[in-house]
Symmetry: C2
Subunit: 289 residues, 2 copies
Amino acid sequence: MRTVSKDTVTQSFLDYISEDSDERLKFVMEKLAHHLHDFVRETNLTHDEWRKGLELLFAAGEISTPERNEFVLFSDVLGLSSLVDMVNSSEDGTPSSVLGPFHVLGAPDVPVGGDLIKDNVGDKIVVGGRVLTTDGKPIKGAHLEIWQTADNGLYSGQDEQQEEYNFRARMTTDADGRYLFSTVRPAPYTVPDDGPVGELLRATGRHPWRPSHLHFIVTAEGQKTLVTEVFPSDDPYLDEDAVFGVREKLIMEYEKRESTDGLPDDLAIKGELDGTFYVVDFDFVLSAA
Amino acid sequence: MRTVSKDTVTQSFLDYISEDSDERLKFVMEKLAHHLHDFVRETNLTHDEWRKGLELLFAAGEISTPERNEFVLFSDVLGLSSLVDMVNSSEDGTPSSVLGPFHVLGAPDVPVGGDLIKDNVGDKIVVGGRVLTTDGKPIKGAHLEIWQTADNGLYSGQDEQQEEYNFRARMTTDADGRYLFSTVRPAPYTVPDDGPVGELLRATGRHPWRPSHLHFIVTAEGQKTLVTEVFPSDDPYLDEDAVFGVREKLIMEYEKRESTDGLPDDLAIKGELDGTFYVVDFDFVLSAA
Protein backbone atom coordinates (compact mmCIF):
# COMPACT_ATOMS: atom_id res chain seq x y z
CA MET A 1 0.00 0.00 0.00
CA ARG A 2 2.87 2.42 0.51
CA THR A 3 3.43 2.12 -3.21
CA VAL A 4 -0.19 2.93 -4.14
CA SER A 5 -0.48 4.78 -7.46
CA LYS A 6 -3.29 5.58 -9.84
CA ASP A 7 -2.54 2.31 -11.62
CA THR A 8 -2.37 0.12 -8.51
CA VAL A 9 -5.12 1.60 -6.32
CA THR A 10 -7.80 -0.70 -7.76
CA GLN A 11 -5.78 -3.80 -6.89
CA SER A 12 -5.05 -2.35 -3.45
CA PHE A 13 -8.78 -1.92 -2.91
CA LEU A 14 -9.40 -5.54 -3.93
CA ASP A 15 -6.59 -6.76 -1.67
CA TYR A 16 -8.35 -5.13 1.30
CA ILE A 17 -11.47 -7.22 0.82
CA SER A 18 -11.37 -10.23 3.12
CA GLU A 19 -11.30 -13.62 1.43
CA ASP A 20 -14.01 -14.71 3.86
CA SER A 21 -16.44 -12.15 2.44
CA ASP A 22 -19.53 -13.24 0.60
CA GLU A 23 -18.53 -14.31 -2.94
CA ARG A 24 -21.25 -12.31 -4.66
CA LEU A 25 -20.43 -9.19 -2.58
CA LYS A 26 -16.75 -9.56 -3.54
CA PHE A 27 -17.70 -9.80 -7.23
CA VAL A 28 -20.02 -6.76 -7.09
CA MET A 29 -17.47 -4.65 -5.17
CA GLU A 30 -14.72 -5.64 -7.62
CA LYS A 31 -16.83 -4.52 -10.57
CA LEU A 32 -17.87 -1.33 -8.75
CA ALA A 33 -14.28 -0.39 -7.93
CA HIS A 34 -13.09 -1.13 -11.48
CA HIS A 35 -15.77 1.05 -13.03
CA LEU A 36 -15.59 3.94 -10.54
CA HIS A 37 -11.80 4.00 -10.70
CA ASP A 38 -11.76 3.81 -14.51
CA PHE A 39 -14.28 6.67 -14.57
CA VAL A 40 -11.87 8.86 -12.56
CA ARG A 41 -8.82 7.75 -14.58
CA GLU A 42 -10.47 8.17 -17.99
CA THR A 43 -11.84 11.62 -17.16
CA ASN A 44 -8.85 12.79 -15.09
CA LEU A 45 -11.59 14.02 -12.80
CA THR A 46 -10.63 17.34 -11.21
CA HIS A 47 -11.00 18.16 -7.51
CA ASP A 48 -13.72 20.68 -8.39
CA GLU A 49 -15.69 18.07 -10.33
CA TRP A 50 -15.27 15.55 -7.52
CA ARG A 51 -16.50 18.14 -4.99
CA LYS A 52 -19.46 18.97 -7.25
CA GLY A 53 -20.45 15.31 -7.40
CA LEU A 54 -20.23 15.01 -3.63
CA GLU A 55 -22.26 18.22 -3.22
CA LEU A 56 -25.03 16.75 -5.39
CA LEU A 57 -25.09 13.62 -3.21
CA PHE A 58 -25.11 15.71 -0.01
CA ALA A 59 -27.97 17.82 -1.41
CA ALA A 60 -29.80 14.61 -2.33
CA GLY A 61 -29.48 13.51 1.29
CA GLU A 62 -30.83 16.82 2.54
CA ILE A 63 -33.95 16.78 0.31
CA SER A 64 -34.71 13.06 0.67
CA THR A 65 -37.47 11.64 2.82
CA PRO A 66 -38.95 8.14 2.73
CA GLU A 67 -41.65 9.62 0.44
CA ARG A 68 -39.35 11.61 -1.84
CA ASN A 69 -36.13 9.70 -2.33
CA GLU A 70 -33.72 11.73 -4.46
CA PHE A 71 -31.23 8.84 -4.72
CA VAL A 72 -33.88 6.69 -6.42
CA LEU A 73 -34.58 9.65 -8.70
CA PHE A 74 -30.86 9.94 -9.60
CA SER A 75 -30.90 6.23 -10.39
CA ASP A 76 -34.03 6.76 -12.52
CA VAL A 77 -32.78 9.67 -14.66
CA LEU A 78 -29.37 8.02 -15.13
CA GLY A 79 -31.14 5.00 -16.63
CA LEU A 80 -29.92 2.74 -13.82
CA SER A 81 -33.33 1.80 -12.38
CA SER A 82 -34.56 0.91 -15.82
CA LEU A 83 -31.41 -1.05 -16.62
CA VAL A 84 -31.77 -3.07 -13.40
CA ASP A 85 -35.32 -3.85 -14.53
CA MET A 86 -34.10 -4.91 -17.95
CA VAL A 87 -31.24 -7.17 -16.83
CA ASN A 88 -33.72 -8.91 -14.50
CA SER A 89 -36.60 -9.05 -16.94
CA SER A 90 -37.75 -12.40 -18.34
CA GLU A 91 -37.12 -12.82 -22.04
CA ASP A 92 -40.37 -14.69 -22.53
CA GLY A 93 -42.86 -12.64 -20.53
CA THR A 94 -44.17 -9.07 -20.53
CA PRO A 95 -41.19 -6.73 -19.88
CA SER A 96 -40.92 -5.17 -16.45
CA SER A 97 -40.58 -1.42 -15.96
CA VAL A 98 -39.90 1.02 -13.14
CA LEU A 99 -41.97 0.68 -9.96
CA GLY A 100 -41.62 4.39 -9.22
CA PRO A 101 -42.22 6.03 -5.84
CA PHE A 102 -46.03 6.24 -5.92
CA HIS A 103 -47.05 2.69 -5.09
CA VAL A 104 -48.88 2.35 -1.77
CA LEU A 105 -50.22 -0.69 0.00
CA GLY A 106 -53.85 -1.11 1.02
CA ALA A 107 -55.71 -0.20 -2.18
CA PRO A 108 -59.31 -1.53 -2.20
CA ASP A 109 -60.35 -4.73 -3.94
CA VAL A 110 -62.33 -3.98 -7.09
CA PRO A 111 -64.17 -6.75 -8.97
CA VAL A 112 -63.51 -7.50 -12.65
CA GLY A 113 -65.45 -4.90 -14.61
CA GLY A 114 -65.24 -2.40 -11.75
CA ASP A 115 -65.14 1.35 -12.10
CA LEU A 116 -62.31 3.69 -11.06
CA ILE A 117 -63.78 6.81 -12.69
CA LYS A 118 -66.31 7.59 -9.95
CA ASP A 119 -66.66 11.37 -10.05
CA ASN A 120 -63.25 12.08 -11.60
CA VAL A 121 -62.98 14.08 -14.85
CA GLY A 122 -61.00 13.10 -17.96
CA ASP A 123 -61.16 10.96 -21.11
CA LYS A 124 -62.90 7.73 -20.23
CA ILE A 125 -61.05 4.49 -21.01
CA VAL A 126 -61.86 0.85 -20.55
CA VAL A 127 -58.75 -1.24 -19.88
CA GLY A 128 -58.93 -4.99 -20.04
CA GLY A 129 -57.17 -8.14 -21.12
CA ARG A 130 -55.91 -11.41 -19.79
CA VAL A 131 -53.11 -12.65 -17.56
CA LEU A 132 -51.41 -15.56 -19.32
CA THR A 133 -48.61 -18.06 -18.87
CA THR A 134 -45.85 -18.06 -21.48
CA ASP A 135 -47.71 -21.00 -23.08
CA GLY A 136 -50.71 -18.71 -23.58
CA LYS A 137 -52.81 -20.35 -20.85
CA PRO A 138 -55.10 -17.96 -18.92
CA ILE A 139 -54.30 -17.65 -15.22
CA LYS A 140 -57.37 -17.64 -12.98
CA GLY A 141 -56.97 -15.87 -9.62
CA ALA A 142 -53.96 -13.75 -10.63
CA HIS A 143 -53.78 -10.52 -8.60
CA LEU A 144 -53.24 -7.11 -10.22
CA GLU A 145 -52.37 -3.99 -8.32
CA ILE A 146 -53.26 -0.95 -10.40
CA TRP A 147 -52.38 2.71 -9.81
CA GLN A 148 -52.24 5.80 -12.01
CA THR A 149 -52.48 9.59 -11.96
CA ALA A 150 -55.70 11.54 -12.25
CA ASP A 151 -56.29 13.74 -15.28
CA ASN A 152 -54.11 16.45 -13.65
CA GLY A 153 -50.97 14.28 -13.63
CA LEU A 154 -51.02 13.78 -9.85
CA TYR A 155 -51.37 10.60 -7.82
CA SER A 156 -53.60 10.36 -4.78
CA GLY A 157 -51.22 11.07 -1.93
CA GLN A 158 -49.70 13.99 -3.87
CA ASP A 159 -53.00 15.80 -4.32
CA GLU A 160 -55.26 16.93 -1.50
CA GLN A 161 -58.23 17.09 -3.88
CA GLN A 162 -58.16 13.30 -4.35
CA GLU A 163 -59.51 10.70 -1.97
CA GLU A 164 -56.99 8.39 -0.32
CA TYR A 165 -57.14 5.49 -2.80
CA ASN A 166 -58.36 7.38 -5.87
CA PHE A 167 -57.23 5.53 -9.02
CA ARG A 168 -55.78 2.68 -6.98
CA ALA A 169 -57.21 -0.84 -6.99
CA ARG A 170 -56.50 -4.50 -6.48
CA MET A 171 -58.21 -6.94 -8.84
CA THR A 172 -58.30 -10.74 -9.16
CA THR A 173 -58.66 -12.33 -12.61
CA ASP A 174 -61.75 -14.39 -13.38
CA ALA A 175 -61.93 -17.99 -14.65
CA ASP A 176 -60.79 -16.86 -18.11
CA GLY A 177 -57.80 -14.98 -16.67
CA ARG A 178 -59.53 -11.67 -17.42
CA TYR A 179 -59.17 -8.30 -15.75
CA LEU A 180 -61.25 -5.25 -16.75
CA PHE A 181 -61.94 -1.78 -15.37
CA SER A 182 -63.10 1.64 -16.47
CA THR A 183 -60.92 4.62 -15.61
CA VAL A 184 -59.75 7.91 -17.09
CA ARG A 185 -56.74 8.49 -19.27
CA PRO A 186 -53.71 9.17 -17.03
CA ALA A 187 -51.66 12.31 -17.75
CA PRO A 188 -47.96 12.94 -18.40
CA TYR A 189 -46.12 14.47 -15.43
CA THR A 190 -42.69 15.67 -14.47
CA VAL A 191 -40.38 13.96 -12.02
CA PRO A 192 -39.53 16.30 -9.10
CA ASP A 193 -37.00 18.78 -10.46
CA ASP A 194 -36.58 21.17 -7.53
CA GLY A 195 -33.55 19.29 -6.15
CA PRO A 196 -30.11 18.17 -7.35
CA VAL A 197 -31.63 15.85 -9.97
CA GLY A 198 -33.34 18.88 -11.50
CA GLU A 199 -29.99 20.68 -11.45
CA LEU A 200 -28.40 17.83 -13.39
CA LEU A 201 -31.27 17.71 -15.88
CA ARG A 202 -31.02 21.47 -16.55
CA ALA A 203 -27.22 21.36 -16.88
CA THR A 204 -27.53 18.69 -19.56
CA GLY A 205 -30.48 20.31 -21.33
CA ARG A 206 -32.96 17.57 -20.42
CA HIS A 207 -36.66 17.90 -19.53
CA PRO A 208 -38.25 16.12 -16.54
CA TRP A 209 -41.35 14.73 -18.30
CA ARG A 210 -42.61 11.17 -18.21
CA PRO A 211 -45.22 9.90 -20.68
CA SER A 212 -48.57 9.02 -19.10
CA HIS A 213 -48.88 5.42 -17.96
CA LEU A 214 -50.80 2.89 -15.91
CA HIS A 215 -48.82 1.02 -13.23
CA PHE A 216 -49.35 -2.69 -12.65
CA ILE A 217 -47.94 -5.30 -10.32
CA VAL A 218 -49.14 -8.73 -11.42
CA THR A 219 -48.70 -11.78 -9.20
CA ALA A 220 -49.84 -15.38 -9.57
CA GLU A 221 -48.94 -18.64 -7.88
CA GLY A 222 -45.99 -20.36 -9.51
CA GLN A 223 -45.19 -17.33 -11.71
CA LYS A 224 -42.62 -14.55 -11.42
CA THR A 225 -43.98 -11.26 -10.09
CA LEU A 226 -44.25 -8.63 -12.81
CA VAL A 227 -43.77 -4.93 -11.96
CA THR A 228 -44.51 -2.85 -15.02
CA GLU A 229 -46.16 0.16 -16.64
CA VAL A 230 -48.28 0.47 -19.79
CA PHE A 231 -48.11 3.56 -22.02
CA PRO A 232 -50.67 4.96 -24.51
CA SER A 233 -49.34 4.95 -28.07
CA ASP A 234 -50.22 8.62 -28.68
CA ASP A 235 -48.39 10.13 -25.71
CA PRO A 236 -46.17 13.09 -26.71
CA TYR A 237 -43.36 11.96 -24.37
CA LEU A 238 -43.30 8.32 -25.47
CA ASP A 239 -39.92 8.73 -27.16
CA GLU A 240 -38.34 10.79 -24.43
CA ASP A 241 -39.28 9.35 -21.05
CA ALA A 242 -37.03 11.05 -18.46
CA VAL A 243 -36.61 7.73 -16.63
CA PHE A 244 -36.24 5.35 -19.62
CA GLY A 245 -39.29 3.24 -18.69
CA VAL A 246 -40.86 2.75 -22.13
CA ARG A 247 -40.57 -0.61 -23.94
CA GLU A 248 -42.09 -1.38 -27.32
CA LYS A 249 -44.09 -4.25 -25.79
CA LEU A 250 -45.56 -1.97 -23.11
CA ILE A 251 -47.34 0.35 -25.51
CA MET A 252 -51.12 0.10 -25.56
CA GLU A 253 -53.35 1.23 -28.41
CA TYR A 254 -56.43 3.32 -27.59
CA GLU A 255 -59.38 2.30 -29.73
CA LYS A 256 -62.02 5.04 -29.91
CA ARG A 257 -65.67 4.07 -29.35
CA GLU A 258 -68.99 5.80 -28.86
CA SER A 259 -71.34 4.45 -26.23
CA THR A 260 -74.08 4.25 -28.86
CA ASP A 261 -71.95 1.45 -30.43
CA GLY A 262 -73.00 -0.65 -27.46
CA LEU A 263 -70.54 -2.49 -25.28
CA PRO A 264 -69.21 -5.86 -26.49
CA ASP A 265 -69.76 -8.83 -24.18
CA ASP A 266 -66.20 -8.79 -22.91
CA LEU A 267 -66.69 -5.20 -21.65
CA ALA A 268 -68.99 -6.04 -18.79
CA ILE A 269 -68.37 -2.64 -17.28
CA LYS A 270 -70.30 -1.65 -14.21
CA GLY A 271 -69.70 2.11 -14.63
CA GLU A 272 -71.64 4.46 -16.92
CA LEU A 273 -69.98 5.21 -20.29
CA ASP A 274 -71.81 8.04 -22.02
CA GLY A 275 -70.52 9.47 -25.30
CA THR A 276 -66.93 8.95 -26.47
CA PHE A 277 -64.61 6.56 -24.70
CA TYR A 278 -61.51 4.51 -25.51
CA VAL A 279 -60.81 0.80 -25.21
CA VAL A 280 -57.47 -0.78 -24.41
CA ASP A 281 -56.84 -4.49 -24.81
CA PHE A 282 -53.62 -5.53 -23.11
CA ASP A 283 -52.51 -9.01 -22.00
CA PHE A 284 -49.88 -9.66 -19.34
CA VAL A 285 -47.64 -12.70 -19.80
CA LEU A 286 -46.01 -14.02 -16.64
CA SER A 287 -43.01 -16.31 -16.88
CA ALA A 288 -42.72 -19.32 -14.61
CA ALA A 289 -41.05 -18.79 -11.21
CA MET B 1 -36.69 5.44 -26.83
CA ARG B 2 -39.65 3.13 -27.24
CA THR B 3 -37.13 0.49 -28.28
CA VAL B 4 -34.87 0.98 -25.25
CA SER B 5 -33.14 -2.23 -24.18
CA LYS B 6 -30.26 -3.11 -21.91
CA ASP B 7 -27.94 -2.72 -24.90
CA THR B 8 -29.32 0.62 -26.13
CA VAL B 9 -30.08 2.45 -22.89
CA THR B 10 -26.59 3.99 -22.68
CA GLN B 11 -26.93 5.51 -26.14
CA SER B 12 -30.45 6.69 -25.27
CA PHE B 13 -29.02 8.44 -22.22
CA LEU B 14 -26.36 10.13 -24.36
CA ASP B 15 -28.97 11.17 -26.94
CA TYR B 16 -30.89 12.99 -24.19
CA ILE B 17 -27.94 15.27 -23.42
CA SER B 18 -28.36 18.54 -25.27
CA GLU B 19 -25.68 19.36 -27.83
CA ASP B 20 -25.52 22.84 -26.33
CA SER B 21 -24.32 21.44 -23.01
CA ASP B 22 -20.85 22.19 -21.74
CA GLU B 23 -18.35 19.95 -23.62
CA ARG B 24 -16.54 18.80 -20.50
CA LEU B 25 -19.83 18.02 -18.73
CA LYS B 26 -20.94 15.96 -21.74
CA PHE B 27 -17.68 14.03 -21.68
CA VAL B 28 -17.86 13.36 -17.92
CA MET B 29 -21.53 12.31 -18.09
CA GLU B 30 -20.81 10.01 -21.04
CA LYS B 31 -18.05 8.26 -19.11
CA LEU B 32 -20.20 8.10 -15.97
CA ALA B 33 -23.12 6.53 -17.82
CA HIS B 34 -20.87 4.03 -19.62
CA HIS B 35 -19.28 2.85 -16.39
CA LEU B 36 -22.44 2.78 -14.25
CA HIS B 37 -24.38 0.97 -16.96
CA ASP B 38 -21.56 -1.53 -17.59
CA PHE B 39 -21.42 -2.13 -13.84
CA VAL B 40 -25.12 -3.11 -13.83
CA ARG B 41 -24.81 -5.18 -17.03
CA GLU B 42 -21.65 -7.02 -15.97
CA THR B 43 -23.03 -7.88 -12.53
CA ASN B 44 -26.64 -8.46 -13.63
CA LEU B 45 -27.37 -6.43 -10.53
CA THR B 46 -30.48 -7.72 -8.77
CA HIS B 47 -33.30 -5.51 -7.50
CA ASP B 48 -32.32 -6.41 -3.93
CA GLU B 49 -28.71 -5.34 -4.52
CA TRP B 50 -29.88 -2.11 -6.21
CA ARG B 51 -32.17 -1.38 -3.23
CA LYS B 52 -29.32 -2.11 -0.80
CA GLY B 53 -27.07 0.38 -2.59
CA LEU B 54 -29.79 3.03 -2.49
CA GLU B 55 -30.40 2.30 1.19
CA LEU B 56 -26.71 2.90 1.93
CA LEU B 57 -26.88 6.25 0.12
CA PHE B 58 -30.08 7.20 1.93
CA ALA B 59 -28.48 6.27 5.27
CA ALA B 60 -25.43 8.33 4.31
CA GLY B 61 -27.73 11.30 3.77
CA GLU B 62 -29.35 10.80 7.14
CA ILE B 63 -26.07 10.67 9.10
CA SER B 64 -24.28 13.43 7.16
CA THR B 65 -23.74 16.94 8.46
CA PRO B 66 -21.34 19.58 7.12
CA GLU B 67 -18.89 18.33 9.80
CA ARG B 68 -19.35 14.59 9.22
CA ASN B 69 -19.89 13.98 5.53
CA GLU B 70 -20.52 10.28 4.92
CA PHE B 71 -20.40 10.72 1.11
CA VAL B 72 -16.81 11.99 1.36
CA LEU B 73 -16.09 9.01 3.59
CA PHE B 74 -17.56 6.59 1.01
CA SER B 75 -15.34 8.25 -1.60
CA ASP B 76 -12.37 7.86 0.77
CA VAL B 77 -12.77 4.15 1.58
CA LEU B 78 -13.53 3.30 -2.06
CA GLY B 79 -10.18 4.83 -3.03
CA LEU B 80 -11.86 7.54 -5.09
CA SER B 81 -10.67 10.56 -3.10
CA SER B 82 -7.13 9.28 -3.24
CA LEU B 83 -7.38 8.50 -6.95
CA VAL B 84 -8.63 12.04 -7.67
CA ASP B 85 -5.57 13.29 -5.77
CA MET B 86 -3.29 11.04 -7.80
CA VAL B 87 -4.63 11.87 -11.26
CA ASN B 88 -4.24 15.56 -10.38
CA SER B 89 -0.86 15.23 -8.68
CA SER B 90 2.24 16.74 -10.31
CA GLU B 91 4.76 14.18 -11.49
CA ASP B 92 7.68 16.35 -10.47
CA GLY B 93 6.67 17.60 -7.02
CA THR B 94 5.80 16.08 -3.66
CA PRO B 95 2.71 13.86 -4.14
CA SER B 96 -0.57 15.17 -2.84
CA SER B 97 -2.77 13.17 -0.48
CA VAL B 98 -6.23 13.37 1.04
CA LEU B 99 -7.25 16.64 2.70
CA GLY B 100 -9.62 14.82 5.06
CA PRO B 101 -12.44 16.44 7.02
CA PHE B 102 -10.41 17.92 9.90
CA HIS B 103 -8.89 21.01 8.33
CA VAL B 104 -10.14 24.27 9.84
CA LEU B 105 -9.34 27.86 8.94
CA GLY B 106 -7.94 30.38 11.41
CA ALA B 107 -5.03 28.47 12.98
CA PRO B 108 -2.50 30.79 14.68
CA ASP B 109 0.74 31.93 13.02
CA VAL B 110 3.73 30.18 14.57
CA PRO B 111 7.29 31.31 13.78
CA VAL B 112 9.90 28.93 12.34
CA GLY B 113 11.21 26.90 15.28
CA GLY B 114 7.96 27.34 17.19
CA ASP B 115 6.48 24.87 19.62
CA LEU B 116 3.19 22.99 19.29
CA ILE B 117 3.77 20.68 22.27
CA LYS B 118 2.83 23.19 24.96
CA ASP B 119 1.42 21.07 27.78
CA ASN B 120 0.38 18.11 25.61
CA VAL B 121 1.66 14.62 26.36
CA GLY B 122 3.28 12.21 23.91
CA ASP B 123 6.56 11.34 22.17
CA LYS B 124 8.30 14.61 21.33
CA ILE B 125 9.28 15.15 17.72
CA VAL B 126 11.00 17.95 15.85
CA VAL B 127 9.76 18.28 12.28
CA GLY B 128 11.63 20.44 9.82
CA GLY B 129 12.84 20.76 6.27
CA ARG B 130 12.65 23.05 3.29
CA VAL B 131 10.08 24.09 0.72
CA LEU B 132 11.71 23.82 -2.71
CA THR B 133 10.98 24.38 -6.38
CA THR B 134 11.36 21.38 -8.69
CA ASP B 135 14.82 22.83 -9.53
CA GLY B 136 15.77 22.45 -5.89
CA LYS B 137 15.69 26.20 -5.15
CA PRO B 138 14.48 27.10 -1.62
CA ILE B 139 11.25 29.12 -1.52
CA LYS B 140 11.29 31.97 0.97
CA GLY B 141 7.90 33.08 2.28
CA ALA B 142 6.06 29.84 1.45
CA HIS B 143 3.10 29.25 3.76
CA LEU B 144 2.45 25.95 5.51
CA GLU B 145 -0.76 25.01 7.23
CA ILE B 146 -0.13 22.20 9.69
CA TRP B 147 -2.62 20.07 11.62
CA GLN B 148 -2.50 16.72 13.35
CA THR B 149 -4.07 14.63 16.10
CA ALA B 150 -2.99 14.70 19.71
CA ASP B 151 -1.46 11.59 21.26
CA ASN B 152 -5.00 10.17 21.75
CA GLY B 153 -5.75 10.09 18.01
CA LEU B 154 -8.22 12.99 18.17
CA TYR B 155 -8.07 16.40 16.49
CA SER B 156 -8.95 19.59 18.33
CA GLY B 157 -12.59 20.08 17.45
CA GLN B 158 -13.30 16.39 18.08
CA ASP B 159 -12.01 16.46 21.65
CA GLU B 160 -13.31 18.72 24.39
CA GLN B 161 -10.08 18.29 26.35
CA GLN B 162 -8.09 20.15 23.67
CA GLU B 163 -7.93 23.90 23.16
CA GLU B 164 -9.46 25.28 19.97
CA TYR B 165 -6.31 25.33 17.82
CA ASN B 166 -4.30 22.65 19.60
CA PHE B 167 -1.81 21.08 17.12
CA ARG B 168 -2.82 23.53 14.40
CA ALA B 169 -0.50 26.20 13.03
CA ARG B 170 0.37 28.37 10.09
CA MET B 171 4.08 28.93 9.37
CA THR B 172 6.02 30.96 6.81
CA THR B 173 9.39 29.71 5.57
CA ASP B 174 12.52 31.71 6.28
CA ALA B 175 15.12 33.02 3.80
CA ASP B 176 16.48 29.47 3.33
CA GLY B 177 12.99 28.09 2.63
CA ARG B 178 13.02 26.38 6.05
CA TYR B 179 10.15 25.40 8.30
CA LEU B 180 10.64 23.84 11.74
CA PHE B 181 8.50 23.04 14.77
CA SER B 182 8.39 20.81 17.80
CA THR B 183 5.30 18.71 18.36
CA VAL B 184 4.26 15.26 19.57
CA ARG B 185 3.95 12.12 17.51
CA PRO B 186 0.41 11.96 16.09
CA ALA B 187 -1.54 8.73 16.65
CA PRO B 188 -3.35 6.31 14.32
CA TYR B 189 -7.13 6.64 14.39
CA THR B 190 -10.20 5.09 12.85
CA VAL B 191 -12.47 6.76 10.31
CA PRO B 192 -16.06 6.99 11.67
CA ASP B 193 -17.51 3.50 11.35
CA ASP B 194 -20.90 3.91 13.03
CA GLY B 195 -22.70 4.63 9.73
CA PRO B 196 -23.19 2.96 6.34
CA VAL B 197 -19.46 3.21 5.52
CA GLY B 198 -18.78 1.14 8.64
CA GLU B 199 -21.40 -1.35 7.45
CA LEU B 200 -19.59 -1.69 4.11
CA LEU B 201 -16.21 -2.08 5.82
CA ARG B 202 -17.50 -4.83 8.10
CA ALA B 203 -19.27 -6.65 5.24
CA THR B 204 -15.98 -6.79 3.32
CA GLY B 205 -13.83 -7.65 6.36
CA ARG B 206 -11.96 -4.33 6.39
CA HIS B 207 -10.77 -2.30 9.40
CA PRO B 208 -11.30 1.47 9.70
CA TRP B 209 -7.74 2.44 10.78
CA ARG B 210 -5.58 5.14 9.28
CA PRO B 211 -1.83 5.34 10.00
CA SER B 212 -0.78 8.39 12.01
CA HIS B 213 0.14 11.42 9.92
CA LEU B 214 0.81 15.13 9.84
CA HIS B 215 -1.36 17.19 7.47
CA PHE B 216 0.15 19.98 5.39
CA ILE B 217 -1.14 22.50 2.89
CA VAL B 218 1.82 24.26 1.29
CA THR B 219 1.32 27.38 -0.84
CA ALA B 220 3.79 29.73 -2.51
CA GLU B 221 3.52 32.40 -5.17
CA GLY B 222 3.88 30.99 -8.68
CA GLN B 223 3.67 27.38 -7.44
CA LYS B 224 0.85 24.84 -7.38
CA THR B 225 -0.81 24.42 -3.99
CA LEU B 226 0.12 21.14 -2.34
CA VAL B 227 -2.37 19.34 -0.06
CA THR B 228 -0.70 16.36 1.50
CA GLU B 229 0.05 14.21 4.54
CA VAL B 230 3.31 12.79 5.89
CA PHE B 231 3.46 9.39 7.59
CA PRO B 232 6.00 7.99 10.08
CA SER B 233 7.87 4.97 8.68
CA ASP B 234 7.16 2.80 11.72
CA ASP B 235 3.40 3.15 11.81
CA PRO B 236 1.61 -0.24 12.11
CA TYR B 237 -1.09 0.80 9.59
CA LEU B 238 1.26 2.14 6.93
CA ASP B 239 0.49 -0.72 4.56
CA GLU B 240 -3.24 -0.75 5.17
CA ASP B 241 -4.51 2.82 5.29
CA ALA B 242 -8.34 2.61 5.12
CA VAL B 243 -8.45 5.61 2.78
CA PHE B 244 -5.43 4.82 0.53
CA GLY B 245 -3.53 8.02 1.42
CA VAL B 246 0.00 6.64 1.79
CA ARG B 247 2.62 7.25 -0.93
CA GLU B 248 6.21 6.04 -0.77
CA LYS B 249 7.45 9.62 -1.10
CA LEU B 250 5.31 10.76 1.86
CA ILE B 251 6.98 8.54 4.42
CA MET B 252 9.16 10.30 6.97
CA GLU B 253 11.91 8.67 8.99
CA TYR B 254 12.06 9.34 12.74
CA GLU B 255 15.64 9.75 13.93
CA LYS B 256 15.96 9.15 17.68
CA ARG B 257 17.98 11.70 19.72
CA GLU B 258 18.65 12.46 23.34
CA SER B 259 18.64 16.06 24.44
CA THR B 260 22.10 15.53 25.95
CA ASP B 261 23.30 15.19 22.31
CA GLY B 262 22.68 18.91 22.02
CA LEU B 263 20.57 20.40 19.28
CA PRO B 264 22.21 21.01 15.91
CA ASP B 265 22.17 24.55 14.56
CA ASP B 266 19.32 23.83 12.16
CA LEU B 267 17.08 22.81 15.07
CA ALA B 268 16.63 26.27 16.53
CA ILE B 269 13.71 25.04 18.57
CA LYS B 270 12.12 27.41 21.02
CA GLY B 271 10.43 24.68 23.10
CA GLU B 272 12.11 22.59 25.81
CA LEU B 273 13.29 19.13 24.72
CA ASP B 274 14.26 17.05 27.74
CA GLY B 275 15.31 13.42 27.37
CA THR B 276 14.41 11.36 24.29
CA PHE B 277 12.95 12.95 21.21
CA TYR B 278 12.76 12.26 17.49
CA VAL B 279 13.81 14.32 14.50
CA VAL B 280 12.11 14.35 11.10
CA ASP B 281 13.73 15.97 8.06
CA PHE B 282 11.20 16.33 5.25
CA ASP B 283 11.35 18.66 2.21
CA PHE B 284 8.30 19.70 0.20
CA VAL B 285 8.76 20.19 -3.54
CA LEU B 286 6.19 22.43 -5.22
CA SER B 287 5.74 22.29 -8.98
CA ALA B 288 5.29 25.48 -10.95
CA ALA B 289 1.74 26.76 -11.36
